[in-house]
Amino acid sequence: MARKRQDYDDIPGTFVFDAERSREGFGINMFCMSLMKEENRKAFKANEAEYLKQFKLTPAQTEAILQRDYNRMLELGGNIYFTAKLGATDGHSFRHLAAVMTGSTQEDYAAMMLAGGRSAEGNRSKSGRYKAGTLVPGGKAKSAQPKAAAKSKSAKSSKARRKRG
């Protein structure tokens, strides 16, 4: 079944760890959690593919873990707090993971953070059409329709809401 489309899928470069991903990624996250124990870290490092067989993983998930494709792991239901344990098992700093996920080098990523981080400008929305926030300005009105048409549409929907309510 294709993933159900969500409003937050409009946020660029972001895999929200929601109920659907949590369900699909249970095996990835349980594998990562197992790495909290030293004996498991050793067993995994000794034979990665063999170790992974004890978890419920799809071939794509297994491949993402073996390739250390951190974005793909997130896409397939891994959560960053869990996948970070795999990074730690490899002896990698979080900055290494961040560089891999952002397609950057560790030096460039660190320099970006020191310079104030990645700006929200241009990074809020894939479609570019979203409502301005409660706290800070920005964003375009969702509807590009003429005012009158937009008004009638909203009147209709509030009527529908009343009906449902």
Partner: protein
């Protein structure tokens, strides 16, 4: 009678804990962060709370993906530091306050907030880093702590409004506890940050500063921030800021802001910190306020 005297909000970046544990606090990068908490430690040393309620989130330490409670209250008599993959942090065991904790549990559940009760729980950097920032690194923590773990890892976390209302219910519970205890409540996590995916590294100082301004003066405005807005503006993990609203809900509507600090970055995160004090009231006024809150909570206002 117990009362909440102040609220503290602070980021809980794991790298801050690592810098403390590895004695790097004097290095220029970290000094910029730690210097912002010097005045806060003085404030805390003078304030000397009898109990601290610490609202925080677990990061795949005590809770895996097997059990994900939305609100989990620590009612145990102690909470050992969790092994987060590098051995437990070298910080003292956190002592609980089981009597007040179970009183709060009973009160807020009857106020329709369905808490999970944890009688055995380990605590990770989400709780111990803010304690270090406010209490320093003593051999024993100076007061008992009631941990309140909030799920902000599995989407959706509780809404900003729900968190604010839980804060009000906690306030009512504390107000009805018979012993004279002075309580400080912590909201931790945030501010803007994203540590996952190609957009990792996102920081939004404009959002953070507006959040701090409103936290102080107009918290109800913050209760209208949707999860989509938090993630879009403050990063996927910036959604942690809903936890600050539990702290804020537990304070008076009007508070005195006594201190604020903001710096970018600490590793991947914008560090925000604020101290808000309740204004002192006569005992009679307090009782009347408590009676008002009883009705407010039910109405959801």
């Amino acid at each position: 009678m117990a009362r909440i005297i102040a609220g503290v909000a602070s980021s809980h970046v794991p790298a801050i804990g690592a810098a403390i544990d590895n004695k790097q606090t004097e290095e220029p990068y970290w000094k910029r962060v730690f210097s912002g908490f010097e005045k806060s430690k003085d404030w805390m040393a003078k304030t000397k709370p009898d109990v601290a309620i610490v609202v925080y989130n677990d990061h795949a330490s005590a809770f895996s993906v097997e059990v994900v409670p939305t609100f989990a209250l620590g009612c145990a008599s102690e909470f050992p530091p969790a092994d987060e993959g590098w051995g437990p942090r070298p910080v003292p065991v956190v002592k609980g306050h089981p009597e007040l904790a179970s009183h709060i549990a009973q009160s807020v559940i009857l106020d329709e907030f369905d808490l999970t009760i944890c009688n055995k729980m380990e605590v990770d950097h989400g709780l111990t880093v803010p304690m270090n920032l406010l209490f320093g690194s003593p051999k024993e923590w100076p007061c008992p702590v009631i941990p309140l773990a909030v799920n902000v890892v599995l989407y959706p976390p509780p809404t900003a409004h729900r968190c604010y209302m839980l804060g009000k219910a906690i306030r009512k519970a504390v107000d009805s506890y018979p012993d004279d205890l002075r309580v400080v409540i912590f909201g931790t996590g945030g501010m803007s940050h994203q540590i996952s995916g190609p957009r990792a590294g996102l920081i939004n100082s404009k959002f953070d500063k507006a959040f701090l301004d409103n936290l102080s003066k107009d918290p109800k405005k913050l209760t209208r921030i949707s999860h989509l807005e938090f993630m879009r503006e403050a990063g996927a993990e910036g959604i942690e800021m809903v936890m600050w609203l539990i702290m804020r809900g537990a304070l008076d509507d009007k508070v005195d802001e006594v201190y604020r600090f903001y710096t970018v970055p600490a590793s991947n995160t914008a560090v925000g910190h604020i101290i808000l004090e309740n204004r002192r009231k006569a005992a009679g006024k307090l009782k009347r306020a408590a009676a008002h809150r009883k009705t407010d909570i039910r109405r959801g206002q």
